[in-house]
């Protein structure tokens, strides 16, 4: 029995309690040191755990409640390479965000650090948990920490409203999840994922399990900001402090997807695995999310809202990868998560630097003001290109894995739609970068709507540290596609993650794992299609960014024609994102009902 999994949760949670308790007692330097130390220690332990998990499933039964006569009664952490890898990424992003906050949030109360550590512990617990109710508790714990962090600057109205929308929609998602747990418990009498999977693998599932699955998966999709449950994301990200955005957008939103994948393969594959219905619905949700959020990103002028939609867009691509239900797709989603987390965090860090430098966060207001800040500019453009999926940069390897999965499944059209999504979001970021750092484009653009009220941000920061953190985040993210051996390991991890029955057997300790074959340490080859799509997505994004910048130079007839066709859908799209929480909840309920209906129709026949 390994002691590392509980430590990954205990260290951040205990340090959070100490930091909160010693507020005003110890000098600030000691507190800062403790916070960064705790988060670094968690990251290092996660790396060790990843190394252990490579050869066997690391299982920890709390309180020594092991199996009793082959029945799982206790609560366990079951860690494979996917869960351990998630913990490593979470640790890195949170540590970078904490270092960034050392000066960025200097004036903030120390509770800020405590909340960040709380979120870190909760996310690690979520990634590792092998118990359904335990998943719910971690989900709620990280959510509460995130609401408080979003609304941290309560002296302004924006953060308060963003936090309210975030808290209400995500709480409802949590309640749906709780109801789903109750139904599944009623059907199986178990809360341990392995035990539930074992029970459901005997006999037909029936309507109750379909309802339970809908509620459980929708709970995660709300957390993961998948269309139509994504409406809260932009409101929350627009107002949260930059380091909080980095954690929210980089890892906390994406973590909903790991929940979807975990539940599907441990629990619902056994009863519903014969048909591809569950996966197909997830695939379509992912595609719609990617294209819609990409479009929304292009229509933003507020940098953090733009980044929020870019996050949602990439979440759609990752969900599509999971929805393919094969190893290449899942491995692609993993690699994309890794690259996307760091690149997104880096871009949010740059946005924070611009906000501090100029007290502005609006693309048009910032036009030309970034001239001369060379390092932030390089970080911004490098991060953008990484998120575009230019061949062998950033998220490319992950995207290529998803491409491969889709091609094998005989759905080559998936590729085009997903690349379109990331090109749209990338075009928005490129356009913003060119306008801010190079001063290109017009100073006014009615397409981008009204400016949001800008809150002045007066901070006494140590700028080189902020720049350094941003550059480090982007540099790691960019390098993901060219790390030798990473692609093969992701695929091996995905293979293991997908074996629901074998997972059950390993957690239940029925048979030990076969020794892992040695994996190649080379840069993974990708197909010609992925290279072509990656290249053309880059060209398309650059072209679209230029159109966005110099729209007025297009011939008048073209402008009028496109304006006439595009104006109504853009208007509809914008008015859907109304900022009113009642609308969001309505969408959430309707979305859940529709998903449940579709699954009932497809699976019950």
């Amino acid at each position: 029995m390994s002691w590392i999994p509980p430590l990954l949760v205990a260290i951040p949670l205990l340090s959070a309690a100490v930091v909160a308790g010693l507020d005003h007692v110890t000098p600030k330097a000691i507190q800062d040191g403790l916070v960064v130390l705790a988060s670094t220690a968690t990251t290092v332990l996660a790396v060790i755990l990843l190394w252990q998990a490579e050869s066997h499933e690391v299982v920890h039964w709390f309180g020594g409640w092991r199996l009793q006569h082959g029945v799982a009664l206790g609560i366990d952490f079951a860690v494979g390479p996917v869960a351990a890898g998630m913990c490593v990424v979470i640790g890195i992003v949170v540590t970078l965000a904490l270092v960034y906050s050392l000066t960025f949030m200097r004036e903030a109360a120390r509770l800020f650090d405590a909340l960040m550590l709380l979120a870190l512990g909760a996310m690690c617990g979520f990634a590792m948990s092998g118990d359904l109710f335990n998943l719910f508790v971690w989900l709620e714990l990280m959510a509460v920490a995130a609401y408080a962090l979003t609304g941290f600057q309560v002296e302004q109205l924006g953060p308060v409203q963003g936090a309210v929308n975030f808290a209400i929609t995500n709480s409802i998602g949590g309640y749906l999840f709780a109801i789903g747990i109750a139904l599944l418990y009623a059907r199986t009498g178990a809360l341990n994922l392995a035990q539930i999977g074992k029970t459901l693998s005997h006999g037909p599932a029936g309507g109750l399990v379909i309802v339970a699955m809908t509620l459980l998966l929708c709970g995660f999709l709300v957390k993961g900001a998948v269309v139509p449950f994504h409406l809260w994301a932009a409101d929350a990200y627009a107002v949260a402090p930059a380091p909080v955005c980095a954690v929210l957008g980089g890892v906390m939103t994406d973590i909903g997807l790991i929940g979807v994948a975990r539940l599907y393969w441990t629990v619902f594959e056994a009863p519903f695995g014969q048909s591809h219905a569950v996966g197909d619905v997830l695939l379509w949700l992912g595609i719609v999310t990617a294209v819609l959020a990409g479009t929304m990103a292009f229509l933003q002028r507020h940098l953090k809202r733009m980044l929020a939609y870019s996050v949602v867009c990439h979440i759609g691509i990752m969900l599509a990868g999971i929805g393919l239900l094969d190893s290449s797709g899942l491995a692609g989603a993993e690699l994309m998560f890794l690259a996307h987390a760091l690149l997104t965090a880096g871009l949010f860090f740059v946005a924070g630097i611009l906000h501090v430098d100029h007290a502005l966060i609006d693309e048009l207001h910032l036009r030309g003001r970034g001239r001369g800040c060379r390092s932030p500019a390089i970080a911004w453009f490098a991060g953008t290109i990484g998120l575009l999926g230019t061949p062998y940069v950033g998220i490319y390897l992950g995207h290529a894995g998803i491409d491969e999965g889709a091609t094998e499944l005989g759905r080559p059209w998936v590729l085009a739609l997903l690349w379109l999504g990331s090109a749209l979001a990338g075009a928005a970021l490129l356009r913003a970068g060119a306008r801010i750092f190079l001063g290109w484009g017009d100073a006014e653009d009615p397409l981008l709507g009204e400016p949001m009220e800008e809150e002045p941000l007066e901070r006494d920061v140590f700028r080189p540290l902020l720049v350094c953190v941003a550059v480090v985040a982007v540099a790691i993210g960019i390098a993901v596609s060219v790390v030798p051996g990473l692609g093969q390991r992701a695929e091996y991890a995905a293979d293991r993650f997908r074996e629901g029955a074998a997972y059950t057997a390993r957690v239940m300790g029925v048979h030990p794992m076969a020794p892992a074959q040695s994996l190649a340490v080379t840069i993974r080859h990708t197909t010609l299609e992925s290279l072509l799509y990656g290249g053309s997505a880059t060209v398309f994004a650059v072209g679209l960014a230029l159109v966005g910048l110099y729209r007025r130079r297009l011939p008048r007839s073209v402008r009028v024609a496109t304006g006439r066709t595009l104006a109504p859908p853009i208007y509809v799209l914008r008015s859907l994102h109304s900022g009113v929480v009642g609308d969001y909840v309505t969408w959430l309920v309707v979305g859940t009902a529709v998903l449940g209906g579709v699954w009932a129709a497809l699976l019950h026949g």
Partner: protein, 114 residues
């Protein structure tokens, strides 16, 4: 075992959601949120109920006595604790919204969209 508790749970959940969707007051909204969550308590407790079962306190009880499921009660308690944190936070935010904008109507507070 009748279907009544399940019908009650479904009804409470739907009523709460309808209240949230149409609410014009953040305090009212927070209460609707609690109503929605209460449905999961009702559901959990009815799932674990055994007709003529005793409370699951096993001190000085004969082996083999029928008792209701203690697990769902533990889940309900945890659920309540979690919701208290969320509701407290939302009420605190509602106070701040009122202080800053003079209203607790979510539509009136809204200044972000698109």
């Amino acid at each position: 075992m009748s279907y009544l508790p399940y019908a009650v749970a479904a009804w409470v959940c739907v009523v709460g959601l309808a209240g949230i969707a149409t609410s014009r007051n953040l305090i009212h909204l927070a209460i609707c949120l609690m109503v929605t969550q209460s449905s999961s308590y009702v559901l959990l407790l009815s799932v674990g109920y055994v007709t003529h079962g005793k409370a699951p306190i096993f001190k000085e009880t004969k082996l083999g006595t029928t008792a209701v499921d203690p697990v769902v009660q533990a889940l309900t308690l945890t659920d309540i604790v979690v919701s208290v944190a969320v509701i407290a936070l939302i009420l605190a935010l509602a106070l701040d919204a009122h202080r800053l904008s003079g209203t607790v109507d979510p539509d009136g507070v809204a200044d972000i969209s698109g």
